[in-house]
């Protein structure tokens, strides 16, 4: 098992990135060289490599590296909580839908259909438009937008598992519905949920960045990767580093979660486990 973990390059690389990003976020105040909000007017918009400011500064002379490190906190937190909300809601609805079938499945399926008719960003925008921009609303918005994706995956997985003979076998030896669900269906449905979670966190980070970039997410001065890009957009000609590095941070984090998710998918497949 350990050998297989180490052999899987996407898993190792993705895991390394994910753990690094998490560590950076958790220990941001310890790692960041400066206070992300302390301004230094004489050092405004300095490029990367400026002594004391490895990645340079923004229009208020705030240290970009420190802002990116602190930004990891918000981006990751928003991503993780939003996906947790979506995953739990999706898991519950997906389980109900997949296990009971019939009209329960029909109603839940229709709700998913309707939610999926809105592109993720649009749904998140509409919810934020109604609720107003704030961190909490952002998380709710992304969570709601994520729910049907989870629900679909879980429902599909359950339908696949339910048609297997070991479920019939469980009924044949007298297992109750709840027991079968808990002991046989759920464990076999969890791997796709875990994989979708990892992939979902990546796209939630993107959605958060997009909303913050539009000014509809977390509002300044709290740094997030999205609003740092937004800040930098006005100074692309003079200090392209601001938007560039913030975007690069998003790319690295999202690549990390997606590699990790792909790696997990292979690892958790019992057919290839040896």
């Amino acid at each position: 098992m350990n050998k297989r973990v180490l052999k899987s390059r996407p898993l190792v690389l993705g895991g390394f990135i994910v753990i690094s990003v998490v560590m950076v976020a958790v220990f941001a105040p310890l790692i960041a060289p400066m206070d992300p909000n302390s301004q230094s007017l004489e050092n405004r918009l300095s490029g990367w490599g400026t002594p004391g400011y490895i990645l340079g500064t923004d229009q208020y002379g705030r240290d970009l590296l420190s802002r990116l490190i602190h930004g990891a906190r918000i981006s990751l937190l928003a991503g993780v909580i939003a996906v947790a909300v979506g995953a739990v809601a999706g898991l519950v609805l997906g389980l109900l839908s997949g296990y009971f079938g019939g009209w329960v499945d029909l109603v839940i399926g229709r709700i998913f259909d309707v939610l999926l008719a809105f592109p993720t960003i649009l749904l998140a925008l509409a919810i934020v438009a109604a609720l107003g921009p704030s961190m909490t609303n952002l998380i709710i918005a992304i969570g709601v937008a994520t729910t049907p994706h989870f629900g679909r995956v879980i429902r599909g997985a359950i339908l696949a598992v339910r048609s297997r003979d070991y479920i019939v076998a469980a009924e044949a030896f007298g297992a109750s519905d709840f027991y079968t669900m808990w002991r046989h269906v759920l464990p076999n449905v969890l791997p796709p949920v875990i994989v979708t979670t990892s992939l979902g966190i990546g796209s939630a980070i993107q959605t958060e960045a997009t909303l913050s970039f539009l000014g509809l997410g977390v509002s300044p001065p709290t740094p997030t990767w999205g609003n740092i890009i937004n800040d930098g957009q006005a100074y692309l000609g003079i200090a392209p580093g601001i938007s560039l590095f913030a975007g690069a941070a998003i790319v690295v984090a999202v690549v990390g979660f997606s590699l990790f998710g792909d790696g997990l998918r292979d690892l958790l497949d019992p057919r290839v486990r040896k």
Partner: protein, 318 residues
């Protein structure tokens, strides 16, 4: 075939109804009194009354919804609060810019994604395959608006080859096309990953199918095996993903129009959100969602048309 189309349209009706309910509810999700949320605390009594009237908030909920439904079905999306214009007119005026961007984005993602996926499939396990994987992973991870900003910095601001803003002069096709290149590429790069990945896996799966072996066994040339026997089958899941991607790209246009200051319905939406112009928010949301449902409808029909097994199943049932 007509039966198939009719049955698919019929199947989309409940979803469209749900979409209407959802957009209708946007205003009712607003915490507290929507009017004060919209107008702020300093609004005059007259303003409040007019807005209330405009939004039809004085009636019971079901009456409001019935009114909303009748209006929408007649093509009336209400009146914008800030611009005092019919929302439908505003949207119609800006729709072409958005649709052309979305279509250009889909074309870009297909042009990049499909060859990339096929290349990766035929060179499975090699360096090309790995590079393609890396390229698509990064392309997918990069937020579209950021890629747009980078492209704009390089090709518009620094090199000056293409316009950084606007949607071109109406009537001047060349300027319209030039204005589309950068945002469409940014959208395409974001959307190609999924298409490339599905093309690759679907191609690999199909190349392992027994009927491909049959084709080889009866003496079909290798490139004909790939282009005739494999591609047609591999295209089936790819079409579905292109349809799904259209939705992602529609969402992407919203942001891309802000980045490139394009006068489309996406930038209209973002501005309306800031202005708390709820009729416009509702209208744009509805139009985008309905377009997405329609695109999925077309995808579904094309999908069933490509796969004779499904074609038959539906005609016999409906």
């Amino acid at each position: 075939m007509l039966k198939l189309i009719a049955s698919r349209i019929l199947a989309a009706v409940p979803t469209l109804f749900g979409v209407l309910v959802a957009t209708f509810l946007i205003v009712h999700l607003i915490p507290g009194d929507p009017i004060s949320a919209i107008l702020g605390d300093e609004a005059t009594e007259e303003q409040i009354q007019t807005t209330r009237e405009a939004l039809g908030l004085n009636d019971p909920l079901y009456v409001q919804f019935a009114n909303y439904l009748t209006q929408v079905l007649q093509g009336d999306l209400g009146t914008s609060i800030s611009g005092r214009q019919p929302v439908a007119d505003q949207i119609m005026a800006r729709l072409p810019a958005t649709i052309s961007l979305a279509i250009a984005g889909v074309i870009a993602s297909v042009i990049i994604g499909i060859p990339l996926g096929m290349l990766a499939a035929t060179r499975r396990g090699g360096k090309t395959d790995f590079s393609a994987l890396l390229f698509t992973t990064v392309g997918e991870a990069a937020p579209a608006f950021w890629t747009g900003i980078l492209l704009s910095t390089v090709f518009a601001i620094t090199l000056g080859w293409l316009p950084a803003t606007g949607a071109g002069t109406p009537g001047d096709t060349w300027s319209v096309i030039r204005s589309l290149i950068l945002p469409a590429t940014a959208l395409g790069l974001a959307g190609m990953a999924l298409i490339a990945r599905i093309t690759r896996s679907s191609m690999l799966e199909v190349l392992n199918e027994d009927y491909v072996r049959t084709a080889r066994a009866k003496g079909v040339r290798e490139w004909v095996v790939i282009t005739r026997h494999a591609l047609r089958n591999a295209a089936i899941p790819v079409v579905t993903v292109i349809g799904l991607n259209f939705g992602v790209l529609l969402g992407g246009t919203v942001v891309m129009e802000t980045v490139f200051a394009r006068p489309g319905i996406g930038s209209l939406l973002v501005n309306a959100i800031f202005a708390r112009d709820y009729p416009v928010v509702q209208g744009v949301t509805l139009v985008i969602a309905v377009s997405f449902v329609l695109v999925n409808l077309v995808t579904d029909i094309v999908y069933r048309f490509l796969d004779p097994r499904l074609r038959d199943e539906v005609t016999s049932k409906a």
